[in-house]
Symmetry: C2
Subunit: 177 residues, 2 copies
Amino acid sequence: MKLEQEKCEQRKLIYQGNILKLFKDQVSFPDGNNSSREVVEHNGGVSVLAEDKSGKILLIRQYRYPVKEVIYEIPAGKLEIGEEVIECAARELQEETGYQAEKLEKLFEFYPTPGYSSEKIYIYQASNLSYVGQNLDEGEYIEVVPKTKTELLELFKAGKLKDSKTLIAVMYYLGDF
Amino acid sequence: MKLEQEKCEQRKLIYQGNILKLFKDQVSFPDGNNSSREVVEHNGGVSVLAEDKSGKILLIRQYRYPVKEVIYEIPAGKLEIGEEVIECAARELQEETGYQAEKLEKLFEFYPTPGYSSEKIYIYQASNLSYVGQNLDEGEYIEVVPKTKTELLELFKAGKLKDSKTLIAVMYYLGDF
């Protein structure tokens, strides 16, 4: 059987929210089996691995309500509908850390949790930064914490990097790929 | 302001599904602001970086309906309520690849998408494998594709590893941390 041949037979919108939609779909397989799928539709996110002029990587600390914990993350935010991915990277970097980047280059695009969500997260690398001032959204409470390579390795080894995009970006920065 | 002090004032269950629950919560901040949060509650997932006796890493290929794509992943599955994490790792490895591991060691626990989901994913490392036979769940169509270190590096460099847990596990395996 070809792995690709799972088909949507019926789609039901359960909930339309601000940041996500939830669907329950009936699907069929070519061998005659049927199943249902709960699917979160999300517009995607963009995150930035940014190195400041002193050679430190800009992490942020932020309370994440769903996991009830303050965690380290790289700067990131939701892609607006119709927004260019690279513009979102520049916007979120500036809003959350206050920095503008002369150069932005795509490193990764990945699915954080493809079993139930359509969300795709992009990781950009930002260089040649200059400070222009932070500009947080309402309801965003963020602390910017620049970290040296040695400090990042310590955080990584101690299991203190717990966010998928941040782990991937920091491992890329630390590793020799 | 302490980053921790975001409080739930009211919780409304929007939908209770098979693999997730969706809530809409009203929250308050100590500065007097209020906001709402859409939160997916998920019981968590367990994944396994497993090396077979020939030194190959067991990847699987699987159609992921939410992203409409066949992607490479390490073996993984949902944590059942009340199940020990390490037992889930052993169970999913055997169900999806047919292998039992003599040794299972925790490498990571991380949040794939902490902005809207409580889900935590664990990554275990499995060694000393022996083949006992695959045992897929109904509605699971999976191809097991063992990969050498060189092949994994090629897949990584070509951007063909798109799943968060798989990227983290493979970068850990390839990198020198």
